[in-house]
């Protein structure tokens, strides 16, 4: 895999290789060794508060979890099976109804077996986040042939 990621190829992997991300409409904006930026357009069906339409925390968790995993591949510049060990999310303020939600995830430390990730979720200002998160991931978690970033050129199911 080249050092630079082809955003349209990554978007294609998400749309065709990760059913839940395709379902909710995750969009890729940036992906390099420094980290990844993804977004999710606001949708009423993800509201957790029927009074004001504020997004449910769970959909924010999903966007962050997705980006957190991908930023490890970006940092390692290769795909390998990984498993989330834990993920902590602080909800700093309610997401604004009607606004797209962005997430920026960075893998700030990798050891032989473990990757450590930081992520935030925000609308337009990363300095004023909706949520802050840290997570740890186990590397090479599985021997089964995985959803393969590098293999995406060969098409789904390869």
């Amino acid at each position: 895999m080249p050092a630079e990621f082809d955003i349209s190829q990554i978007q294609n992997i998400i749309d065709n290789g990760i059913p839940h991300c395709a379902e909710i409409g995750v969009k890729v904006h940036e992906m390099d060794v420094e980290g990844v930026t993804f977004s999710l357009p606001y949708q009423e069906r993800f509201a957790g508060n029927p009074v004001n339409g504020v997004l449910h925390g769970g959909i924010i968790t999903t966007l962050i979890d997705t980006a957190a995993g991908m930023c490890i591949y970006a940092r390692l510049k290769q795909y390998m099976p990984i498993a989330t060990l834990d993920l902590r999310i602080d909800y700093l303020k309610p997401a604004t109804p009607g606004e797209d939600l962005f997430t920026r995830a960075t893998c700030y430390k990798v050891t032989r077996q473990i990757a450590f990730v930081r992520a935030i979720a925000y609308h337009d200002d990363p300095e004023d986040p909706v949520a802050n998160s840290v997570g740890t991931f186990m590397l090479k978690s599985s021997v089964s042939p995985p959803l393969n970033l590098a293999g995406a050129k060969k098409g789904a199911g390869s």
């Binding site: 290789g17 990760i18 059913p19 839940h20 991300c21 379902e23 009423e44 069906r45 993800f46 509201a47 957790g48 508060n49 029927p50 009074v51 339409g53 997004l55 449910h56 925390g57 769970g58 959909i59 968790t61 999903t62 966007l63 962050i64 979890d65 997705t66 995993g69 498993a83 989330t84 060990l85 834990d86 993920l87 902590r88 999310i89 602080d90 909800y91 309610p94 599985s142 089964s144 042939p145 995985p146 959803l147």
Partner: protein, 149 residues
Amino acid sequence: MTVLTDEEFVATIEEAKLTKDWARIFNTIPYFSFLGLSLQSSDGALICVLPEDRKFIGNPTLPALHGGVVGAFLESTALVHLLATQEVTRLPKIINITIEYLRSGKPVETYAEAVITKPGRRVANLRVEAWQGDRARPIAAAHANFLVS
């Protein structure tokens, strides 16, 4: 989305508790409807159920549920537990959640139960566990804090 007032929302929750018609809670909250959640109550325990659905898959090769869905399910179970068992004057607000992923979740029907570890006046702390075939082998667990007043 049907927009409710605070009063209408609290009234809906009160009605659901009175009639034990928990579907009212799930129908009221759009994201719960999206997840297709339901609640089973047996012997006083409230078990939340996430149905089998292809749209929840994160890794089609294993295959496995998306970790975000598992986390969302745990958070939802904690919130439903608060709504169903506590005096609620407004929708509790999630402060934080720590999710531990214990096993890969298969794309099958999944269950979760929440326990209130501390029912504070302002903040409630809950522990939630999710499992599939075997309750003794949970796929994930979480601790969450909610602002309740």
